[in-house]
């Protein structure tokens, strides 16, 4: 990590001790490049404070919904039913037969589909398209040298 980066933000945010501030200001006087970066940071913060757009409410809601959707998928109904069966023992034969029947039923029934990935909001989709459109092209995936 470049120590200058953290020191700049700490200095601007007033998080340096008195000694640290004095030492940093001495460096600013001695290092023109560091002083230039400080001016750039100050100008950036002032610019963003006056021009930053507000977060669209639909984007915020979309982000929250996507975060909540990233939770563990519970066990399937077959798994829950199998977990409730008695452990192998005197009834091992019956348990095996039951498991085989359930496995057959599971194959016969439609497979439980994973929930679809949440769709990004229009603002995010536009930004993603702008990033990807010029960076990637379709490819046949073959491994060959030019």
């Amino acid at each position: 990590m470049n120590g200058n980066h953290d020191e700049l933000t700490d200095y601007l945010d007033g998080r340096l001790t008195a000694e640290g501030r004095e030492a940093f200001e001495a460096r600013l006087a001695a290092e023109p490049a560091l002083a230039r970066r400080l001016r750039l940071f100050r100008a950036l913060r002032a610019s963003l404070a006056s021009t930053a757009p507000r977060m669209p409410s639909d984007l915020k809601a979309e982000l929250k919904r996507r975060a909540r959707s990233r939770t563990a998928a519970g066990p399937s109904w077959v798994e829950r039913l199998l977990a409730s069966l008695p452990s192998p023992g005197p009834g091992l034969g019956a348990a095996v037969a039951t498991a085989a029947l359930l496995a057959t039923l599971q194959r016969a029934l439609p497979a439980r589909k994973a929930p679809p990935a949440p769709r990004p909001s229009p603002a995010v989709s536009a930004r993603l398209a702008a990033v990807s459109s010029d960076l990637w092209t379709d490819d046949d995936g073959s491994d060959h040298e030019d």
Binding site: M1, N2, K60, A117, V124, L135, W136, D140, G141
Partner: protein, 338 residues
């Protein structure tokens, strides 16, 4: 007669020596050291990067061409060619201290610190995950190679392979695989070029016409997002080449959790930070990886790998269709404090 016998003996000895050198394989640890270190010599290469979707995914593979220049000891320049002729679609330049990432056609970019790679930490992460092996690797960029395979200690499956040139140890090809065995990415040097550079090639400065912000938000292209002063966010300090912050870091309703989303155009990386507590996972953890903060747990579901870890009293996870080793490196780059 004696002269002929002597010549024959000399020729046989030379042939045997050549054969011995050809079959003398380097140790896996030695090749790993080359992978984790900057090359000792400058080079330039045209690299083809291919991204493959998960099993069952619709659509074709995606590809991009990069012009990579490296000047010892740590100066790097990567240009990603656009669809049409003209300035590169993406430009990344590092002088070992600062990293400039710019999108010249869009006229934007960002400038920030470029933390030096921690080879010891990376070695610890990789060795906690993989068994290493070396084999002959065929040819890449018309160079004979050694192949270094990294197989998961958890399931024995191949996760990553490097092809390194036998003379010089340059990484000429790399393939990454998902935990389900499908190919994730391939990077191949299709041609090595003469390392003829100018001093300007590695200057960390904005391309002509591009507005580059010295952003306090890492990988925030164009200063599009406002750094929140009321909710300090711990941004990762390292991401794979080409990734940019896509969605504003938004705290959850209670103001205690935050989501970061990055993309490189084909892959999305999500990082969620929340207070410590029961951690829901998308799938059963299959492996642990060593991190500087302790260890993280890897799981895999729906074509995406996820890494869960705890740092500074908060739980975090990073999820995306990315190599697990890259997720681990991202996790280790998240600082202890904002």
């Amino acid at each position: 007669m004696k002269t002929r016998a002597l010549l024959a003996a000399l020729m046989l000895t030379a042939a045997w020596s050549r054969a011995a050198r050809r079959t003398e394989r380097p140790e896996p640890a030695a090749l790993l050291e080359r992978v984790l270190s900057f090359p000792s010599q400058s080079y330039a290469a045209r690299v083809r990067v291919q991204a493959f979707g998960p099993a069952g995914a619709a659509g074709k593979a995606k590809a991009q061409t990069r012009l990579v220049r490296f000047r010892a000891p740590a100066f790097r320049r990567i240009e990603v060619a656009g669809r049409k002729a003209g300035p590169p679609a993406l430009l990344a330049v590092s002088d070992g201290r600062e990293l400039l990432t710019a999108w010249p056609k869009a006229g934007r970019g960002w400038l920030g610190a470029d933390p030096p790679p921690d080879a010891a930490a990376e070695r610890a992460r990789l060795e906690s995950l993989y068994e290493l092996s070396v084999s002959t690797g065929g040819r890449a960029a018309r160079k004979a190679t050694w192949r270094l395979d990294l197989r998961s200690r958890a399931d024995g499956r191949l996760r990553r392979s490097y092809w390194l040139s036998r003379a010089g140890g340059l990484i000429l090809k790399r393939e990454d695989y998902r935990p389900d065995g499908t190919l994730l990415r391939r990077e191949r040097a299709v041609r090595l070029e003469a390392p003829e550079f100018s001093a300007a090639d590695f200057l960390v400065r904005a391309p002509d016409g591009a507005k580059v912000e010295a952003s306090t938000v890492p990988f925030d292209e164009g200063g599009a997002f406002r750094a929140r002063e009321d909710f300090p966010v711990r941004y990762p300090r390292w991401l794979p080449v080409g990734f940019v912050l896509l969605e504003h870091p938004v705290p959850d309703g209670d103001g205690r959790s935050v989501t970061l989303v990055y993309t490189d155009g084909v892959t999305t990386l999500t990082i969620v930070e929340r207070p410590s507590g029961p951690a829901p996972t998308a799938g059963s953890p299959y492996a642990e990886v060593r991190l500087s903060s302790g260890s993280g747990k890897l799981s895999f579901a729906e074509g995406a790998t996820r890494l869960d870890w705890t740092r500074g009293g908060r739980d975090e996870f990073a999820s995306g269709d990315l190599p697990e080793a890259d997720l681990a490196r991202v996790a280790d780059s998240v600082p202890e404090a904002p």
